[in-house]
Symmetry: C2
Subunit: 190 residues, 2 copies
């Protein structure tokens, strides 16, 4: 998606440790008009697949997923990272190794909201090592739901997550795929 590449080049900032900061428009401040363009593209890519549920993970996937869900006319379910008093005991659980936070954690979703009747599109902001996406795919499988695929805003294609999950048969579409990036500001797309 050309718009995403242009936006990354204009507003993204590269920090040490292969961190791409896009929090001015994607994952702290959220440009909702831009999210609508992203939703349109996700619809073009997955609209024929009778998606009836979008699954994402807190926190930065939620906004993108909600705007996409308008196009798909379906509800969003988000996996939670911490067990709170509010969540049902009846949950599917998967473990995620976080690169950003430097620790592992459980993600979970109530069994009520992910079932074998669902045709699920996963939406998230980033795909790099694939830890979060793997965890979400596991939740979908545990529920016996059908996984349509995964729509990702930005994929760091130089990290192994995308290749690994595609080789497992997951249909992944990323709106921008970064081939290389370096702190002097250079970004090359696939």
């Amino acid at each position: 998606m050309q718009m995403m590449e242009e936006r990354i080049l204009r507003d993204g900032k590269i920090k040490s440790g292969n961190i791409l900061k896009v929090d001015s428009f994607l994952n702290q401040q959220m440009d909702i008009a831009f999210f609508e363009e992203m939703a349109e593209e996700f619809w073009r890519l997955f609209g024929a697949h009778r998606v009836n549920k979008i699954l994402t993970i807190e926190a930065s996937g939620i906004g993108i997923a909600c705007i996409a869900a308008q196009r798909f006319k379906c509800p969003v379910v988000f996996a939670k990272k911490n067990k709170t008093k509010n969540i049902s005991d009846e949950v599917y659980v998967s473990q995620v190794e976080s690169y950003t936070h430097g620790k592992s954690y459980d993600i979970m979703v109530s069994k009520e909201y992910l079932t074998s009747n669902d045709r699920v599109l996963i939406i998230d902001d980033f795909l790099a090592n694939g830890a979060a996406l793997s965890g979400l795919v596991s939740l979908v499988k545990d529920a016996g739901a059908f996984l349509v695929g995964a729509g990702i805003a930005i994929e760091k294609a130089f990290q192994p997550g995308g290749d690994m999950l595609r080789s497992q048969g997951v249909h992944i579409e990323s709106l921008a795929r970064i081939k290389t990036m370096s702190e002097d500001g250079g970004i090359e797309f696939c």
Copy 2:
């Protein structure tokens, strides 16, 4: 908002400890068509106030805020609960005492995304003891931004947060205000 009261009566579940579970439509599974109705109501209540930024807090406020932001044609900024490698060092910080999680934590927002030029509407899913909302109000004040008010999905009016913050001059509009609720299923609205 009659629609919200009806939805709570239909789908809400009351658990011990004054917990109202509305995660089938509001804060784990998210009914986006319903969020659009909520957005329309927030626009009716605050649309004349030239809001140019919506502030919320991860995670369950984000979806409601993003759909509302479409109506206000402005970006959303969400306060983060944990410091990650991705967030700027230049942040406003406020401490929140969480009833749900049973502990206190810091919330923060990058100084870049909340400034003295902003006219801010806070959006969140719940108002009970007012801890999260107080923290968000502090962030707005620290930034020197103008606080238009706060739009809340569900207020537990039998807890002190709403009265406390209104007495401090915060313009709060809640789509449903619960006067009393009990585990046998009874809910009375204000």
